[in-house]
Amino acid sequence: MSQAQVVDVPESDPRVKQMLKVIKNYQKRPDALVQVLHAVQDTFGYLPMNLIRVVSKELHIPPSRVFGVVTFYYYFSLKPKGEHNCLVCTGTACYVKGAQKIIDQISASFGVKDGQTTPDNKLGLQTARCIGCCGLAPAVVLDNEILPRTDPAQITGLINARLGAKK
């Protein structure tokens, strides 16, 4: 299997200190691993490999166990996300209402596959098992904003508008 594209964060980054503080708040308890990883991902948008090593060391958890946990949960990502991210819900309600067509359309328009980002790192495409907004099916989350009742014909325009807009 291919190794994830590894992008390190320099340990001089001020956010690293913040991360160590979070670990300290959990009194370095090994059971805080998942919560600490959440904090790291919230801060950096993904889990930089060198920081995973720091987490392993700080919490005194063997490397392989940390990596086992990181790769077990779909929420954690070892790769940096795109500048903008599009998450298509593939829950049952969205599925029966055509989520696949939305995914296909985005893939075709932007040349990006599920779990990837465009070469210029502008747009990342992900799918989710269910975001719990079944009343709005098919739903898409674009940069944390839920787009209700999306339509393959419109989705490209919506994303383009977002990509054009300043972040």
Partner: protein, 564 residues
């Protein structure tokens, strides 16, 4: 905190709202994405501008239920609901309804075309047959205000048990209520509490399972977002009954709003002394921590959930020993689902006997369903157990849109099955649904019409289970993969009768031998669609044809067909 203070808060909050209209703007996740925040801001602004703020309160509330018509605005005490309210329409409502008490008929919540919409939303088809216990105050109170919750009787049940009931008496009350686990399997809640209570001289834990992983289910999300204090109170009551001092709520990371509201609620409860040490000036100490999941469906399984709370890979382990005996860090642990805990305060307040008067003999109370898919009224509904599926789908749900024909109702998510038209008059209870080859599940109900292919649906769920299998036990890890491959073959028109035979042998094997509930129930969607829609499978296999027009047949198959 003591009773006098609790009553003071309730009285003061009620006094503030006295003779006032309350404008509840739904701030559930669905309405927010339809623009509810803008509507809320506009409503607040206009009410202030028009000087109505002496007689009108504008508050954000949790899910009102009719998610398809959002943003929803509900006016209390009139019980009038307006649908799809834009900021401009909010102004109109303020001008007419709030200032002059004139109902804006054109914006009224409507569930059926051609009929005049009742002013009181409780008389609409959507709400008429519902019965609210869990959602009693969800949509009427501000979820970020503990005073609001106390004003509607919140934390009264906790006070009652702490001041008057022994642990055994609380458990007896829950047993009398006949409450069963709302997470899906329907294990009697009182019995579970008793099992944990029996262990003496041990640290114990109460865990709330908020890992609502079924695709197509959003009941727990709505309750957590709309009425978080109810869960905290339910957990505290459970903590007292079983003898635990510490509780954990495990919530999906995909529900950021629910996490935020829970955090706020926990903080407020601590400040008011409703969590922490010496609650209600008794010797009862109880505190709650949030644990955030990270995207693993299997963590809804109780032993996997406990492993995840301990910061490990969320893989299940064989039971027995059950968590009641050896759970979190090897200690006796009570695990109930969000909706189960949400039932508790009400059950205690009205008493077990009264609680059990709703529903059927074996399945007491109500059940919240998340209606979605090919149905007119999608949203959150709470119905008494024993109601028929037909009533839910065609009366409350308003039937199938676009003049299409109903095909199946899917309950229980990837662990459940599909119910065909011929069984729609089945009452909704644990046993009846089980007999149909599906499960009650946590409450997701996806409606499918004639444009859904049931083989494709079976493949969809198998794909889900295959991806969510933790990989620990062989039947689930390899079995779901092989079943998926076989279903994929059939869906692309390359399946043979031998493949179907193999599937029919593999499915009961996986059900019988898997380690945990995920594997044991993974074959359910397959088996139930085979049971009721076998002809669709045969069409794919024999005729290389998908009757619903969903599956794309491989060209090779079509070619073979042309030559045959």
């Amino acid at each position: 905190m003591n009773l006098a203070k609790l009553n003071d808060i309730a009285a003061a909050t009620k006094e503030k709202c006295k003779n006032k209209k309350r404008v509840c703007v739904c701030a559930g996740a669905a309405c927010i994405s339809s623009g509810a925040i803008q509507t809320l801001d506009s409503m607040k602004k206009i009410v202030k501008e028009k000087g109505l703020d002496k007689t009108v309160d504008v508050i954000p509330v949790g899910c009102i239920g009719a998610c398809h018509q959002g943003p929803l605005v509900k006016i209390l005490p009139d019980e009038t609901i307006y649908q799809k309210i834009t900021p401009a329409e909010a102004a109109l409502i303020a001008e007419k309804h709030l200032a002059k008490n004139e109902v804006v008929k054109s914006l009224l919540f409507a569930t059926g075309a051609g009929k005049e919409s009742p002013v009181n939303s409780n008389e609409t088809d959507f709400f008429k047959k519902q019965r609210k216990v869990v959602l009693e105050t969800c949509g009427n109170i501000n979820p970020e205000s503990i005073e609001d919750y106390i004003a509607v009787g919140g934390y009264q049940a906790l006070y009652n048990i702490l001041s008057t009931l022994s642990q055994e008496e609380v458990i007896a009350e829950v047993k009398a209520g006949g409450l069963r686990g709302r997470g899906g399997a329907g294990f009697p809640t009182g019995l579970k509490w008793e099992m944990v209570h029996r262990y003496i001289n041990s640290t114990k834990y109460v865990v709330c399972n908020g890992d609502e992983g079924d695709p197509g289910a959003f009941m727990d999300r709505s309750v957590l977002e709309g009425d978080p204090h109810r869960i905290l109170e339910g957990m505290a009551i459970a903590g007292y009954a079983v003898g635990a001092q510490k509780g954990y709520i495990y919530v999906r990371a995909e529900y950021p709003l629910a996490i935020k509201r829970l955090e706020t609620a926990i903080k407020q409860a601590r400040v008011q002394g409703l969590l922490g040490d010496k609650i209600f000036e008794t010797d009862f100490n109880f505190d709650i921590e949030i644990r955030i999941g990270a995207g693993a469906f299997v963590c809804g399984e109780e032993t996997a959930l406990l492993a995840s709370i301990e910061g490990k890979r969320g893989t299940p382990r064989p039971r027995p020993p059950y968590p009641a005996e050896s759970g979190l860090w090897g200690k006796p642990t009570l695990i109930n689902n969000v909706e189960t805990f949400a039932n508790i305060p009400k059950l205690i307040l009205i008493g077990g006997k009264e609680f059990a008067s709703v529903g059927t003999q074996k399945s007491a109370g109500t059940k919240v369903f998340a209606l979605a898919g090919k149905i007119m009224n999608t949203g959150l509904v709470e119905v008494p157990m024993g109601i028929t599926l037909r009533e839910i789908i065609f009366e409350i749900g308003g039937g199938i849109p676009g003049g299409k024909k109903f095909k199946a109702a899917q309950t229980g998510g990837p662990s459940g099955g599909c119910i065909p038209e011929s069984h729609l008059d089945t009452p909704v209870d644990y046993e009846s649904l089980g007999a149909l080859g599906t499960i009650m599940g946590s409450g997701g109900m996806i409606i499918m019409d004639e444009t859904s292919c049931m083989v494709d649906v079976a493949r969809y769920f198998m794909d889900f289970c295959m991806n969510e299998s933790c990989g620990k036990c062989v039947p689930c890890r390899v079995g779901t993969k092989q079943m998926f491959d076989l279903l994929n073959k059939i869906c692309t028109g390359q399946g043979s009768p031998a493949d179907l035979a193999l599937l029919e042998e593999l499915a009961p094997y996986v059900r019988e031998t898997s380690l945990c509930g995920l594997g044991m129930t993974a074959p359910n969607p397959l088996m139930s669609t085979l049971r009721y829609f076998r002809e669709e499978y045969m069409a794919h296999i024999n005729d290389h044809w998908c009757p619903a027009g969903v599956c794309k047949m491989e060209p090779a198959a079509q070619l073979a067909e042309a030559h045959s």
